[in-house]
């Protein structure tokens, strides 16, 4: 049976309709959802198309930038205030995916997707929902119970404006060049204060059910100056407390073996 498409010009209306319809899905860019539509997936029967222009906004809000849910990877890459996210946005798909794939879609994308979301976790982004005004949910919390949030509508993502765009480093590990899905991705926020790293955050993609922070590595590096000794300490605990998946790309064992190597390269800045 084909799916029905309902169009909403106000995101709040869509959120209300979604809460009473278990078989509806939000159509964002369509790069993930349309694959299911094309395959005849029967787990949903309605698509909600949102035409609310506020979902396309990118605007400053104090020392943060608010990115509307429907902003695409290509729009992030082109935006001068978001240059620190460009590497991660560029890692998503090919050019024709990036013109349509949205930031909210990436936040909710199942593995092996979510390269941008991994960078957003490292960045300490916050997520905003319809019907909840300007209340923000920290992204760590959002990722912890991501499955249960599928009945809500993301309206925007708020990110800190980085004074130094190079403070966010991103690395995607693939087996196919130039493009392939991520075996793992790593994002690190390395804010410098007087030569030492202060407020270090690191996130992995594809090393668990959602992009996640790596507490052991953060602890190992906090207050260090990213020297050889500090990086060796961090690499030693690269997968501590994690349960990486086994999938078509790699086994959990392989992911554990290579994670310290890639983490080391990222921290040494050898990712070019």
């Amino acid at each position: 049976m084909p799916v029905r498409v309902e169009t909403f010009s106000q995101v709040e209306e869509a959120a209300r309709a979604l809460s009473s319809n278990q078989k509806a899905r939000i159509y964002g860019g369509g790069t993930i959802l349309m694959r299911s539509v094309n395959e005849g997936d029967q787990s949903f029967d309605t698509l909600f198309r949102l035409t609310d222009p506020t979902l396309k906004d990118i605007r400053s809000e104090g020392d943060r930038v608010l990115i509307g849910a429907a902003v695409t990877m290509a729009e992030i890459i082109r935006h001068r205030d978001l240059s620190f996210l460009a590497d991660a946005a560029r890692a998503v798909g090919g050019p024709a995916i990036r013109t349509t794939a949205t930031i909210a879609g990436n936040l909710l994308a199942p593995p092996p997707y979510g390269d941008l979301a991994t960078a957003l976790v490292a960045l300490g982004a916050e997520v905003r929902f319809a019907g909840q005004g300007s209340a923000n949910v920290p992204i760590d919390e959002f990722m912890r119970d991501r499955e249960s949030r599928k009945g809500s509508v993301v309206t925007a993502v708020s990110v800190p404006r980085l004074a130094d765009p190079t403070a966010l480093r991103f690395l995607k590990v693939t087996r196919v060049k130039p493009k392939g899905v991520a075996l793992m991705s790593i994002a690190a926020l390395l804010p410098r204060a007087g030569g030492r790293i202060d407020g270090f955050r690191i996130a992995y993609g594809n090393m668990g059910p959602t992009p996640l922070r790596v507490a052991a590595v953060e602890r190992a590096l906090e207050g260090s100056s990213l020297d050889e000794a500090g990086i060796t300490r961090a690499a030693a605990v690269a997968t501590e407390g994690l349960d990486p998946p086994t999938d078509a790309l790699a086994s959990a064992w392989y992911r554990r073996e290579v994670a310290p190597v890639h983490l080391r390269r990222l921290l040494l800045g050898q990712t070019g």
């Binding site: 799916v3 498409v5 349309m34 694959r35 094309n38 050019p95 995916i97």
Partner: protein
């Protein structure tokens, strides 16, 4: 089943079609308005054979809900040639043996056109990046990359060129 009227321009010509619920743009182009140039490869956004330009941006028509192009401008390989002349990109593909079975070619051409429209003098790396979402199982890509670079030197990026 609901049918939604969709009005758009296809290669500069006004078109009207009915989009059925959940229909993708590729299907509407091929079956609704009879433009057979974009190809159905995987239906999963993995191969790029269905690449078209929507308002000048490369998009995968198999992953685009047909009704979303209402009021927009769609360009496909059918619109590349004018009269009896072929587009410099097509010419370069021919001279560089950049098509073997030819199934990926329409998508490759549109991905290349999107690149040259924005960046008339691309580097080799730019070309590789531009076609990174398009699979070719015949050529090994080198002839395609060379063709796009050659077309950029011969002025494929000129308006209407």
């Amino acid at each position: 089943m609901a049918q939604k009227p969709v009005q758009f321009t296809l290669n500069g010509e006004d078109k009207a079609a009915f989009a059925s619920d959940g229909q993708n743009l590729l299907d509407m182009l091929r079956r609704g308005v009879g433009d057979l140039s974009p190809k159905y490869g995987c239906g999963q956004g993995a191969c790029g054979a269905c690449t078209v330009l929507i308002d000048g941006e490369p998009c995968l028509s198999c992953l685009t809900l047909a009704e979303t192009v209402d009021g927009k401008d769609v360009a496909t390989t059918s619109g590349l040639s004018s009269g009896s002349g072929i587009h410099p990109l097509q010419d370069a593909f021919m001279r560089n043996f950049a098509a073997q079975c030819g199934y990926c070619t329409p998508g490759m051409l549109m991905a290349a056109k999107a690149l040259l429209d924005r960046n008339p003098q691309p580097s080799r790396d730019d070309v590789v990046e531009a076609i990174s979402g398009n699979l070719c199982r015949c050529t090994g890509y080198e002839p395609i990359i060379n063709a796009v670079l050659e077309a950029s030197r011969s002025g494929a990026s000129q308006p209407n060129g």
